[in-house]
Symmetry: C2
Subunit: 153 residues, 2 copies
DNA sequence: CGGTAAATCAGAACAAAGTTCCTTATTCAA
DNA sequence: TTGAATAAGGAACTTTGTTCTGATTTACCG
């Protein structure tokens, strides 16, 4: 069953999305409440799975991940077994940051972050050796214009 | 100037990527160190910009964002002015979670999260009314197979 | 439109974690 | 090998997270 989210919850989530390291007192002041209700609401939203996790975002380039590719994948295989193996392959590879199954012409899109083009090729070769893929198009990112995980609440 | 990252820093970042809400003591134990050095290293990596921010990840569907599109954009305009206005339009729209400038045939890719298809159309109409765009292809996600911001350190 | 029960809130008390300080160990260069 | 600079470990201190209680509000039903 789902938890009803009210205006105060939304404000709290908004705060946390911007900076999850702020203290409860600060958040309470900003949303016009006090410590206890803010804490209780955060706890409930955690338990309800609305707040999935708490992480740090790292500067990919500062850590040597200079290349980012979006990979468009077409496949001729549509059986359960193939899909299962494809999924496992994606989950096993940490360079895959996103994977979506699509509607329409293109079957899957991946976002892949690697140190350089050579590392992408290694990834690509490994992937196609594991599962049969009909057609692949790689889109190379030149510039990350915008990047956020924040939802517009 | 960049900060040298050693094996211990990498372990700490690995911990924080998984769960940034854990206590310093827990992290220190896991990486085989103690509170103080862990705290100092985190502070330094913050100051150096390696750790960009600390946020919560929310369940988009639980919050009513049921639709996700990848949008491939071709433009015939390549002047500074056009690019500036396009960039401003993207930054002004919170439904755009990612935007990359690409090499090759397709000029830009966007990741757009909205409550439903109608909301996407509203976004699309608003965007093309603001800036001239030659060609747009929208890829509709049926299923989010994988989603992480963690880098493989 | 009351009156009661349930839920929520504000503030205080307590526990736990973050932050600082100081001493000891380690590293690196002369 | 010796000295200076740097980092680590542990204890003191401060801030924050967490729990508890009483008061208030909200919601529901007669």
């Amino acid at each position: 069953m789902s938890v009803r989210i009210d205006e105060l919850d939304r404000k709290i989530l908004g705060c946390l999305q911007v900076d999850a390291s702020r203290s409860l007192d600060e958040i309470a002041t900003e949303v016009g409440s006090s410590k206890t209700p803010v804490w209780n609401r955060i706890r409930k939203m955690r338990e309800a799975g609305i707040i999935t996790s708490q992480t740090v975002t790292l500067d990919a380039e500062a850590l040597g991940f200079d290349a980012c590719f979006y990979v468009l994948i077409r496949t001729s295989e549509h059986e359960q077994d193939w899909q299962k193996r494809f999924l496992e392959a994606l989950n096993a590879r940490p360079e895959v940051q996103e994977a979506h199954r699509l509607a329409g012409d293109i079957d899957y899109i991946l976002k892949v972050r690697v140190p350089n083009a050579r590392a992408y090729d290694a990834f690509y070769q490994a992937l196609i050796s594991e599962v049969k893929i009909h057609n692949v198009t790689a889109l190379l990112s030149m510039e990350e214009i915008k990047s956020t995980t924040a939802l517009p609440l």
